[in-house]
């Protein structure tokens, strides 16, 4: 089997952040659905949570190339 173990590692590492980002935005959508006035306040928290969860996936793809 040819290929690079780096990319297999990245693929496995991307499962966690994928699920995490989905959970964050599911909570955001539910919160806005219950109380539409809270959209502005919740949006800041959603963006922050998204960036924190996405960081691990991005570290994965960057290190898959670099290492």
């Amino acid at each position: 089997m040819e290929g690079s173990l780096n990319m297999v590692g990245y693929g496995l590492a991307a499962i966690g952040p994928g699920v995490g980002v989905g959970l964050i935005f599911a909570a955001y959508i539910q919160g806005v659905a219950r109380q539409p006035e809270a959209q502005g306040r919740l949006q800041t928290i959603a963006i922050l949570g998204f960036a924190l969860a996405e960081a691990l996936a991005i570290i994965g793809i960057a290190l898959a190339f670099v290492l």
Partner: protein, 280 residues
């Protein structure tokens, strides 16, 4: 699209005219302009002369300074368009990043730092989209680690000045006044996570986002060109699709560049606010 991939010839088979060399980290090392001699310092070899990211960093600082100086030069009660843009941008950082996160008591001390940091990182990130520049300076990790070290110094110095060294360490490592033997496990974990690891995650998030985005764009461009020129007739449309994806992802990258600058400064503000907070 799936059918096309089954029909695609293996790109490294010996029948191909030239094999496709996928882009990698070596595409990020740009040759320096100026004299090609080198000098050695601390065991590392440095070239004399400026590389493109070095020029971009200075250019970004100059652009930010000149824009806001020009916007604030003639202050009138009814603002002109330039003044309005300058005021809105400043207000965005001051209110949503300064006042809402650090609190209305002592946020004004930090607004110059957050404001300059936000627009410096934003312009540097947007250099990846501006034609003829098209290289994100934050994809060179050295640039980012400098900013991360500065941010680490700022939030630690602020905390130590307010609480004293022992009080500040206690604030960061002992959450919510817990007592007992669990502290033995908790204190090293919180120390590592709050004081040691934070600058690394901060830097790595920005660096990896810019690196991966730029690499993706290079891959779509080079891969599309290779498929278009070297592929068989069945494969050529995939090259065109790769170029369309290149354009679409370039637009996505504009959003990601803004978002990463925003998140960097947001986390900076949250760390400062955490260092300033009172005991629970």
């Amino acid at each position: 699209m799936i059918f096309a991939t089954y029909a695609m010839p293996r790109l490294s088979e010996p029948g191909a005219e030239e094999t496709f060399a996928p882009p990698g980290p070596s595409d990020f090392e740009l040759a320096p302009l100026g004299p090609s001699s080198e000098y050695e310092l601390f065991g590392q070899v440095f070239p004399l002369g400026a590389t493109k990211p070095m020029i971009q960093v200075v250019l970004a600082a100059a652009v930010v300074f000149v824009f806001f100086w020009a916007a604030a030069r003639r202050r009138s009660m009814v603002p002109s368009r330039l003044q309005y843009v300058g005021e809105t941008s400043y207000g965005f950082v001051r209110n949503s990043l300064g006042r809402d996160i650090i609190g209305s008591q002592d946020f004004m001390r930090f607004v110059p730092y957050l404001f300059a940091l936000f627009f410096f990182i934003l312009i540097n990130n947007w250099f990846a989209t501006i034609p003829f520049i098209q290289f994100p300076t934050m994809s060179r990790s050295g640039m980012v680690y400098g900013l991360a070290i500065l941010s680490w110094l700022v939030y630690n110095a602020v905390g130590v000045k307010k609480h004293g060294l022992g009080g500040y360490l206690k604030l960061q490592t002992v959450p919510g006044g817990m007592k007992g033997p669990i502290l033995l496990l908790l204190v090293p974990l919180e120390f590592m996570s709050n004081i040691l690891v934070r600058p690394f995650t901060l830097a790595l998030r920005l660096f990896a986002n810019m690196f991966a985005g730029h690499l993706l764009l290079i891959l779509f461009a080079l891969g599309g060109e290779y498929l278009l020129l070297e592929g068989s007739t069945l494969v050529k449309p995939v090259g065109v699709i790769a170029w369309i994806m290149f354009i679409l992802i370039a637009f996505l990258e504009i959003l990601i560049q803004f978002l990463q600058a925003y998140v960097f400064v947001l986390l900076n503000a949250m760390y400062i606010s955490g260092a300033l907070s009172e005991e629970h």
